[in-house]
């Protein structure tokens, strides 16, 4: 039944990072109320973060023992990481989300979402520009109408076009 998993590139570093984070949070949990009482505000968070440290260490052990997934011939670890874990499409799409979120407050929901939809559809391989423009406009119109009217949701407004459009 035991199915040994092959170790992905960067997995060991990631698990070590989790242990480091858990240790930091354990220290933060200790700082809440130190060892003042067993029912103090910090007692349960200390227990939880200590559990994270222990589980994290076990995961590090398990990961270190597992066999690494072999890369392609002549491929460096960084190249393997870029290919398997953070391929270009993931990085570019994540960056476009970050830009979209920043623009939400500046350009408002309609303009920034339209730009995001058109650009990201193209980024993800939909090369029919006219189709992307039309699908983005139609779906955005549907989202706008449904959420503004049916759900009464307040959509992010523009700081640039205040009072002109949301």
């Amino acid at each position: 039944m035991h199915n040994p998993r092959l170790r992905l590139v960067g997995e060991l570093s990631f698990t070590l990072l989790l242990v480091g984070f858990s240790l930091f949070m354990l220290w933060q949990a200790y700082a809440i109320s130190k060892f003042e009482s067993i029912t103090s505000a910090g007692s349960f968070p200390m227990f939880v973060t200590a559990l994270m440290v222990i589980a994290g260490l076990i995961i590090v052990g398990q990961t270190a023992r597992s066999k690494p997934l072999p890369g392609e011939a002549g491929e460096s670890a960084l190249q393997q990481f870029t290919r398997q874990i953070t391929p270009g499409v993931v990085v570019s799409f994540t960056l476009s989300i970050a830009v979209y979120m920043t623009l939400l407050g500046v350009l408002g929901f309609v303009v920034s979402s339209y730009l995001f939809l058109v650009v990201s559809m193209w980024l993800l391989g939909s090369r029919r520009v006219v189709l992307n423009l039309v699908v983005s406009a139609l779906s955005l119109a549907a989202i706008y109408v449904i959420f503004q009217t049916v759900f009464s949701v307040v959509l992010p407004t523009s700081s640039l076009f205040k009072g002109f459009m949301s």
Partner: protein
């Protein structure tokens, strides 16, 4: 019992509630079926849109989406060999071979009917068992709630295929995120790093959308190029003789679905796999060998996963402990509407329980109607390219995260959790326990401290009560078994037996 009837039929009599349940079921089928969209993701996003609504409206819509979504996953498993939801993994094993033989329509028809049957069995179990469980739950001490919550998180983490240590880590991470802000008992700041923003805590809706929406979208980018195959979807309605033949199997597997669904942490995905295994072991002469298009391979998982919906509502409504990730999100929705699922909910607001049972029953009826119609259009919709679908999900996620408190910071939290969730998923962690941990964390914290205070801060007395109180001992035994059964020693021992 008769006083429950008006609440049971509320969704049936009110045109608006009727419409919302129908719309939810219809949308749920598509959401469940489109690979890349999950019911958990949809309900997470939906919560942020419906929190201003009347609680009945929100529950009617969510009930439809949940039932429709669990069923919808089977559609893409049959048509594309890509399970639209984890609960449909077993369905694809025989569903897709049937589709390749030109029997996609028949497979969908049979799946629909047995799903509806399973759904009714689950709802019946909910209606009958919940009041009894709720009465029993009144006897639960805080330490029992603490153990039930831990059990739920562990089950979600480990039973769904991941390692126990990773399940524990993910659950504890969720509890940690949930404890950011002011301590509810002493108002001391915890993990706020001096930030005023953090004193009000981290919005779990933003976290849910991040972990289930954004992380899933990013993970889906690895499979952008998957192409759909055209299928024959004529001859949908199954014959009466066929249904009668499979009724005994559907009844047995629905019972499995209810029991597994009712276990804290185990949902439709595990129920479906267990039911498939049961069918493989007990059906002597399947219509075709299992894995090559056996109808039994459709009947078992599909009746079980829909029966698990009713089952999952039992611990959610009676104990406030979610049966799976979706019910964890629904608990979040109930909290937002000012409700506290648990034994007192059943006593103080029994009408809400019967309303919920009525909404699920109605949604199940709509499932039959929508499940047997519009399949040709459906086959087109599920072929929507991911390059169009994923950006749209992202826009919906951003609107959802923003809408909860009109705060742009929540949108950034969503992205942050999305990126963390992506790496967790890639490296084999389950994100379900994180959300369960966030939802159950405050309950665990409170229960631990209440139990410790009642033991007068004496650790030995606190530990001793787990063994001296019969109910606590039973839960402790179940919890210990869950942990031990996940260890390598236990697996080796079973392998030898």
């Amino acid at each position: 019992m008769t006083e429950a009837l008006p609440f049971f039929f509320m969704t049936w009599a009110d045109p608006w509630l009727l419409f919302l349940t129908a719309a939810g079921t219809f949308a749920g089928i598509y959401i469940g079926a489109i690979p890349g969209l999950s019911v958990t993701m949809a309900v997470s996003i939906l919560i942020s849109f419906t929190f201003k609504w009347n609680v009945n409206d929100a529950l009617a819509l969510i009930s439809g989406i949940f039932l429709g979504g669990v069923y919808g996953g089977s559609r893409s498993a049959i048509l594309l060999n890509i399970p639209g939801a984890p609960s449909a993994i077993a369905t694809g094993l025989d569903g897709y071979p049937l589709a390749k033989r030109g029997e996609a329509g028949a497979a969908i028809g049979l799946t629909t009917v047995v799903s509806v049957f399973g759904g009714f069995v689950g709802i019946l179990a909910l209606a009958l068992a919940a009041p009894a469980v709720s009465a029993l739950a009144l006897k639960f001490a805080p330490r029992d709630y603490l153990m039930l919550a831990i059990w739920g998180i562990l089950l979600v983490g480990s039973l769904s295929g991941g390692s126990l240590a990773k399940g524990i880590f993910a659950g504890a991470l969720g509890v940690l995120i949930g404890s950011v802000g002011l301590d509810p008992m002493t108002a001391e700041p915890r993990f706020t790093f001096g930030s005023l923003q953090l004193t009000s805590g981290i919005s779990y809706v933003a976290a849910m959308i991040g972990f289930f929406g954004v992380a899933e979208v990013l993970a889906q980018l690895h499979e952008l190029r998957l192409k759909a195959v055209k299928q024959d979807v004529s001859k949908i309605i199954p014959s009466w003789a066929l249904l009668r033949k499979y009724l005994p199997l559907a009844t047995r597997t629905s019972a499995i679905g209810v029991v597994v669904g009712a276990l804290p942490g185990a949902g439709g995905d595990i129920a479906a796999l267990m039911a498939y295994d049961h069918a493989k072991r007990t059906v002597k002469n399947p219509s075709r060998p299992f894995g090559e298009g056996a109808y039994e391979g459709l009947v078992a998982p599909e009746s079980a996963n829909n029966a698990a919906v009713g089952g999952a509502y039992i611990p959610m409504m009676t104990l406030g402990i979610p049966g799976d990730a979706v019910t964890a999100v629904i608990i979040g929705a109930m909290y937002i509407h000012g409700l506290k699922p648990g034994p007192l909910l059943m006593i103080e607001t029994p009408h809400l329980f019967w309303f919920q049972v009525g909404a699920l029953t109605l949604a199940n009826c709509f499932l039959l109607i929508f499940g047997l119609t519009g399949i040709k259009l459906f086959a087109k919709v599920v072929e929507t390219p991911k390059s169009i679908l994923l950006p749209l999900i992202l826009v919906l996620s951003a609107v959802g995260a923003y809408a909860i408190s009109n705060n742009p910071v929540d949108v950034y939290w969503m992205l942050g959790f999305g990126v963390i969730g992506y790496f967790l998923k890639i490296y084999g962690f389950q994100v379900g326990p994180v959300i369960l941990g966030m939802i159950l964390g405050p309950l665990m914290d409170r229960s631990y401290r209440q139990a410790m205070i009642s033991a007068e801060g004496n650790v030995v007395q606190f530990a001793g009560e787990f063994f001296t109180a019969p109910l606590s001992f039973i839960i402790l035994a179940a919890l210990s078994f869950t942990i031990v059964s996940q260890t390598r020693w236990w697996k080796r021992l079973r392998g030898r037996a």
